[in-house]
Symmetry: C2
Subunit: 128 residues, 2 copies
């Protein structure tokens, strides 16, 4: 990261694009809206601040396969239509449960970020 050992400079690196584990709940939420394949999901992730050109495709595909392996998704190959075959993912009942768990975790995490930002603004008087 940044070519340095520890990333302390958000500008040239992509620390700001690093939302570890956030990928998983985003994929689950997108898939709850309907079945989709990886490549399409990659474009729809932009909504959550994860633009395709800043993604590691490997991570997206690996996360999807792992979620399937663990029973939260399942997929079928779709060969109809032009281009290479797509793996069409659908959510399982367990996947929806997992999404609900994630929503709680994310709400809690947002509260933490809020706490930080409030304390920060209290000290530095930012009003943005």
């Amino acid at each position: 990261m940044c070519g340095q050992n520890h990333c302390h400079h958000p500008s040239p690196c992509r620390c700001d694009g690093r939302m570890e584990r956030f990928l998983e709940p985003c994929l689950l939420l997108l898939l709850h809206e309907g079945p989709a394949h990886g490549y399409e999901l990659r474009t729809r992730l932009e909504r959550f601040g994860l633009a395709p050109d800043r993604q590691d495709p490997g991570l997206v595909y690996r996360t999807l396969r792992r979620l399937e392996e663990d029973g939260f998704l399942f997929s079928e190959w779709e060969t109809e239509g032009g281009g290479p075959a797509r793996r069409l993912y659908r959510m399982t009942a367990d996947g929806e449960k997992l999404l609900h768990e994630w929503a709680k975790v994310i709400a809690r995490n947002r509260a933490r970020l809020d706490e930080f930002l409030q304390a920060y603004r209290a000290r530095f008087g930012g009003d943005s």
Copy 2:
């Protein structure tokens, strides 16, 4: 984590306590309020949802040492007063800059979590 390969069940595990890299900005903010040593910071982290009994002390101390190594903090041994010696940390000018960078990153990340939660509630009608 959870004793399983992939943590998917927030209840018995500490996924909800896992805010990767959030420790660093929290420590910086607390240290901006004044010099402090690790053990004390560990108790003050509770404010950000990081209660001492859910922390890995090793991570806290290592993070402080790393921040010092990189010039964002500096420390002196404090032997006065009862108990074992404390390493009293103070923030450097670079440390304060880093804190400001972190504040931007965290504001951005909160926006992402908000986006997720809004989309989630739009689908599931939560109003909490």
